[in-house]
């Protein structure tokens, strides 16, 4: 009953002519970073895929065994560098779960605001690069890309005035956050999200029932519900295939239960369903940021005194698996602490690693142009895939 001969090189037995092996190489313009897909082609249709990854491997897990709890959060943001705020959160929450460290209410609200702003910024980059892949750097796609980047810059300005950096922040710390919002920041943040809320309407009218976009997105890269759970894909991909699962609702962390938002679910499972899920998530995240800003409590931003030395934070023996709903799905950090200032073992569950693992199962049978559309809708970030 169990079929063991399942290879990642899924091959169709086409009777067609001889095959052309072409690789969408590591430096291919639409590879979203360093990823190599070795495609075997029958004319335009793909019959076999073998994915080669690991070009951006820095061995974060070995590095985390040599850096202390005070140092590693600002390195953790380098795993998923497009959504740095959410990737640091997983590591910090795992350490807090083991050490049973209480995080003040204000810090929890700040974490929610930054995570949701980061989700909007990451989705903006996703929409831009996806349209550029499908529309071409010298065509309509570049227009959508430049609009999205223009809006993303506004959010990066917010993060820059809060933390000082634009991409990798080191904003979190075991026990709370390292920075508090400067005065006037909340008002600027409200103006920015109002502007972005209006601009998203513009992108939708540029793409929504546009025949060219629909032709490229509908019915392409369908992921069945059963395959989705079997491979372990998460986030917008899972919700695009009809599974109503969102960590912020199923296992609320960092006081997400105080906010009301609804979780978009589509049953199509194709690129368009994932696009619809993310477009609704734009607006939900903006609603959450508004609610959090309105009800931001005063008080301390960290339950532990400011960081004075490198081995200041010691976590007692124990282990924990903390999960965060990143823009690409469930980002998890399985941490084993042995009482010293450095963790004994840290396993990083990157959302993009599992999301990418579904590609060899769904690409065969599509055309080359579809590979680019599917890759874009899966939205992998290779810092998280290769760790």
């Amino acid at each position: 009953m169990l079929d063991t001969a399942k290879t990642s090189k899924v091959e169709f037995d086409y009777s067609g002519g001889e095959r052309l092996t072409m690789n969408m190489g590591p430096q291919h313009p639409s590879a979203h970073g360093v990823f190599r897909a070795i495609l075997t082609l029958e004319g335009e249709t793909i019959v076999g895929v073998d994915a080669v990854i690991g070009y951006l491997h820095r061995c974060h897990e070995k590095l985390s065994e040599t850096l202390t709890y005070a140092q590693y959060p600002s390195i953790a943001s380098k795993t998923d560098y497009v959504a740095a705020m959410t990737s640091e959160l997983a590591y910090v929450m795992a350490a807090e779960q083991i050490g049973k460290i209480e995080v003040p209410k204000r810090a929890q609200y700040l974490r929610v605001i930054m995570a949701e702003l980061q989700r909007v910024a990451s989705h903006l980059l996703w929409l831009g690069t996806w349209c550029m892949d499908m529309g071409g750097a010298l065509g309509g796609g570049a227009t959508v890309f430049l609009y999205c980047i223009r809006e993303r810059e506004l959010i990066l300005d917010l993060f820059e005035s809060l933390v000082g950096a634009r991409l990798l922040y080191g904003f979190y710390q075991v026990g709370g956050t390292r920075y508090d919002i400067p005065d006037g920041w909340a008002q600027k943040c409200r103006e920015t999200i109002n502007l972005i809320d209006a601009r998203i309407g513009e992108y939708e009218s540029l793409l929504e029932d546009n025949p060219f976009f629909l032709a490229r997105a509908q019915g392409v890269g369908v992921i069945s519900r059963e395959l989705a759970e079997d491979v372990g894909i998460a986030g917008p991909l899972l919700r695009g295939s009809g599974v109503n699962f969102d960590l912020r609702r199923a296992a609320p962390y960092s006081s997400y239960e105080d906010f009301t938002f609804n979780v978009p679910v589509e049953t199509g499972g194709d690129c368009f369903a994932r696009y619809r899920v993310r477009m609704v998530e734009f607006r939900e995240s903006i609603a959450i940021v508004r609610q959090a800003l309105d009800r931001l409590p005063d008080g301390a931003i960290s339950s532990r005194p400011g960081l004075k030395s490198v081995a200041q934070i010691r976590i007692p023996k124990g282990e924990a698996y903390a999960r965060v709903e990143g823009p690409r799905g469930e980002v998890g950090c399985y941490l084993i602490a042995d009482g010293s200032a450095k963790p004994y073992r840290m396993k990083w569950r990157g959302a993009s690693f599992s999301n990418l693992a579904v590609l060899p199962h769904i690409i065969p049978g599509h055309k080359i142009a579809d590979v680019v559309a599917i890759m874009g809708s899966v939205d992998p970030v290779f810092g998280e895939v290769d760790r």
């Binding site: 009953m1 933390v163 950096a165 710390q173 920075y179 009218s205 793409l207 546009n210 009809g242």
Partner: protein, 206 residues
């Protein structure tokens, strides 16, 4: 070789019927009729046309400088003490231990009044601008500047030594963050700490 269908779970009762939880809202596949093509095409063209009259957002970098926020994390620099005018750094090597990529190397020079840094080297090409060194510095000696333009043709010039760091300190404008300010922001707010002191009996030192 089709994908083997694994037996679905007979006993585990599915709370939401065979296909899983009813989705909140699922958009039907959109049929592209001729009328909707015309409407969609004109809507898309209208958006780009509208944008024709918006002001471009480009900043002409070398000519006009973008305004950096107060907490900008730019180049690292060493500063002199305000009152005595001496070097602020006492060579305590706290920044050397806390730096994740270990780019800072300091040697202490002991003298009777206070200590100094005999040598202080910082490999700027490997620095990650995470501002941990600024945070742990007890005497606010190392700070970050509000500028980043130190492009050099040779990597060896990026290995900054003590007087290069001091020169940068005088050249650019210093950003807001210094060790004491950052630690004060993270610690529990003033009034909470004040009660903490009262609560403890005066004799026992924390």
């Amino acid at each position: 070789m089709s994908n083997p269908v694994l037996p679905s779970s007979p006993t585990a009762k599915r709370p939401h019927g065979p296909e899983g939880p009813a989705p909140l809202r699922s958009s039907p596949t959109r049929v592209v009729g001729p009328l909707s093509v015309i409407r969609a095409v004109t809507k898309a063209l209208w958006v780009t046309f509208l944008n024709l009259f918006r002001k471009p957002v480009t900043v002409h970098y070398p000519d006009e400088e973008r305004k950096y926020p107060d907490r900008y994390r730019g180049l690292l620099a060493l500063v002199y003490e305000k009152d005595t005018g001496e070097e602020a750094c006492i060579g305590c090597r706290l920044c050397e231990y806390v730096c994740p990529p270990a780019v800072i190397k300091v040697e202490m020079l002991k003298t009777e009044k206070r200590n100094y840094a005999k040598s202080f080297s910082l490999e700027l090409y490997a620095c990650e601008f995470c501002e941990l060194c600024v945070q742990v510095c007890p005497t606010d000696a190392i700070v970050m500047m509000k500028s980043f333009d130190l492009a050099t043709a040779d990597r060896r010039e990026m290995l900054l030594d003590k007087d290069r760091l001091h020169a940068i300190g005088l050249q650019h404008q210093q950003s807001w963050a210094t060790g004491n300010l950052l630690r004060a922001m993270q610690g529990p707010p003033k009034m909470a700490r004040a009660e903490e002191v009262h609560a403890k009996p005066a004799g026992s030192e924390a």
